[in-house]
Symmetry: D2
Subunit: 187 residues, 4 copies
């Protein structure tokens, strides 16, 4: 599909059976109309990915546990992860122990067992948790595409810089594309 | 304290503020009077560890996700991890994505944030999940003691062999001790 | 192929392009005629695996770094890992930071990039480093076969117990087979 | 010490025995006078850190292994990691299997065994490998300070954005400071 700095995926074939979309969420999501718009786009893409045979994974990121914080800080781990079943909800959910969605949770195991190595990145915040998760996914051998209009930013100019970082050196962390281009490809 | 093949912990000081007990549980725990006795001992030790200032961590192990099993096999991850608050329950809980209690979950992060590097191993099954968890803990730099009378075995002779493996080469995976000796040390 | 407690691999197809043999080595390998015989068998199998299109990976395991040992204990990491090129040598080498050959090294990354998810286990010591590596591989989703006659034991009765542990519950950590049966399958 | 957005380290005490500086290097370091100046500053800081009792760790990052690249891409792992011994060289070296200096190598194990939980970040490139390594360190519970004048950038405006990302939300990935301020603190 059309994406920068190279047509995604790298090897040219977008097989939906190898596809998953990570819907990243953070504890204090940004508000405002642009964040709401990104959330709406992310939901549409998730629906299209599922319909095409792809997997939808909710990835909850959070501040890391800090030694000084002690046990109380572990409390968020008490929230139930869930395998949701319907509507626009995620197929699977992973709760990370840091800003990187792969850290301290079974996200890598879930994707591997499901045979998914093509990852779409959406959610919030683009330059924080989404970026950490994409950097980690790329290091783990996943082929990644960040959907720029399906991500909410904490700061608009930092969000633009985060996209540029991905595109450096021929796509050092993967590629950047639009939901419109992806939806065209999946339909 | 008195343990084999060396007095535990290695450096000689059993500081309860650095202590945690891992109560390992598996999906199909063994039954029978000896397993019940081990469970009762494990509960007593957990209470004494908590009273002395140690941390009690429930560690749920399980079969790994297999590619052929697909999404359905991920369902157990939907069970809620919990920070329990009272009675004989655990202070924290970690749900692993395999037989090693550190795999695909935040157990390492929880112990690190809580400043616990002295680990007691209890639960079931000694030669399966408990052994995998102890081997992994030792590789990660934790100083480990397996409480032989607080562990249930799947097979009695394999359980004895598992204890001998720990004791090889001067304590290759840590040390083995009895709950009686530990309780004396903590009181 | 013929193996216990189930015909390996689980899904029935032994595709050499998905196959790798891990040749585990430890700092103080056991001596004597039975260890020498196991080493010879392991070398023959590695040659046959390579000829059939499989990958040969040398995996060096070692005692974990301990806090009290400080920097000096890190010295073994100074030994050069190597991509060897010929004869009976390994195709790739990974140096672990513990008894589990996957711990603190790129073994998982190497196998994933090479597309190998069917693993043969050989080397030493069966009940120590080989067992830790097989338990970890199984948790990571690899389908594993331990070649009992290609592994050296530290203690004969513990080696037998280690084989029985693998075979529990229908093959809790994979399967156990002989080099003869494997060589027949590959030829 | 004076740093933004909070005085580093978080808990107020800069104990050199808990301190390590990560000197990150990448396969294609940027050239030019500003990169050279950053390298010179990084070397001075490393010397001062060592003199004060801190640890100097060379961290080599690289592009991740990709499935399509196959075995040939693994060749860089053949380069020898080294425990260097003198002059301005590093005390320890870790070779990562990706842009995150903790990925697929024993960096976490080395730091833990050496009792170092206060990390200084230097090297190249600030917005690429250094940022991935700092994000990962922060998730793992390390308290991090990026030395802005000891890091070379691939792109000046992206480098500035990378610093701003660290400073968001009260220091989401740690703090940012100058070598001058650190040297004053260590002397």
């Amino acid at each position: 599909m059309i994406s920068t700095p190279y047509p995604w995926p790298w090897h040219g074939s977008l097989d939906p059976r190898r596809l998953a979309i990570l819907a990243v969420t953070c504890p204090s999501p940004p508000g405002g109309p642009s964040a709401a718009a990104a959330g709406e786009v992310a939901g549409q893409v998730a629906g299209a990915v599922r319909k095409a045979g792809g997997l939808v994974v909710r990835v909850r990121v959070r501040p890391p546990l800090r030694p000084s914080a002690g046990l109380a800080a572990a409390a968020p781990f008490g929230d139930p992860p869930a395998v949701e079943d319907g509507g626009d909800a995620a197929d699977l959910e992973a709760r990370a122990a840091g800003w990187d969605g792969f850290h301290g949770c079974p996200l890598d195991e879930l994707l591997r067992a499901a045979g998914r190595d093509l990852l779409l990145l959406s959610g919030c915040c683009l330059e924080l948790g989404v970026h950490s998760t994409m950097r980690s996914a790329n290091d783990r051998g996943y082929e990644c595409l960040l959907l720029s209009d399906a991500c909410a930013v904490a700061d608009a100019s930092l969000g633009r810089a985060a996209l540029s970082m991905i595109e450096m050196s021929g796509g050092i962390f993967g590629a950047v594309g639009s939901s419109t281009a992806l939806l065209r490809e999946l339909s």
